[in-house]
């Protein structure tokens, strides 16, 4: 799934490590999400939405195959 996590994280001035700590996952998970190798769980997506103060669909773009 395409996403804008990298841009939003940078705009908040956070490192991958800091974002990971804030939402309770590992830095590697944040890296895999940013590289679009891994789609996060709903809980993680909602935590990101709270942190970025945006609705989920504004930074995770679902595309049908």
């Amino acid at each position: 799934m395409k996403n804008k996590v990298h841009e939003l994280r940078k705009s908040k001035g956070l490192t991958q490590e800091q974002l990971a700590e804030l939402i309770g996952v590992s830095r590697q998970t944040i890296n895999a999400i940013e590289k679009e190798k891994f789609d996060p769980s709903l809980v993680t997506a909602f935590k990101m939405a709270q942190l970025f103060e945006l609705p989920i669909e504004q930074f995770f773009m679902f595309e049908t195959q």
């Binding site: 700590e21 309770g24 996952v25 590992s26 998970t29 895999a32 891994f38």
Partner: protein, 130 residues
């Protein structure tokens, strides 16, 4: 988070090495030292079983501390390893039953195969996602 992970990993390592030591004690003690003493043989086997259960619980405790991506990587690796163990284990048993190999099929080979498969699939899945 890191401190907690380190603590759980250390606990698992202690349980694992204790289990290996108890397995060695039950195996070689029964063969070489107290082969005639049934209660000692039974005691060491029960001790090994008990420590093995402790090791499983420590592993579950570590697994519950993994985040979602780590769980996905481990679960995919475990699923492949389980399937491969069943398929290869039964084939191995068949070649023993049909006398295609001279020696008996040893459980140790299957355990080794499981360990190796799990390690390789973990490496492959880590490469895929990380």
């Amino acid at each position: 988070m890191k401190e907690e992970r380190k603590k759980r990993l250390t606990q698992l390592a202690i349980w694992t090495w204790t289990w290996v030591a108890s397995l060695a004690l039950a195996t070689f003690g029964s063969q070489l030292i107290w082969s005639q003493t049934t209660w000692l043989v039974v005691t060491t086997i029960l001790l090994n079983l008990g420590i093995g259960i402790g090791m499983l619980l420590a592993n579950r405790k570590l697994f519950n501390h993994y985040d979602e991506l780590e769980r996905k990587i481990h679960l995919e690796s475990l699923a492949f390893t389980l399937g491969a163990a069943v398929v290869v284990g039964l084939s191995y048993s068949l070649i023993d039953q049909t006398n295609l190999i001279q020696s008996d099929a040893e459980i140790g080979f299957l355990v080794g195969f499981i360990g190796l498969t799990y390690m390789v699939t973990l490496l492959v899945n880590r490469k895929r996602y990380l």
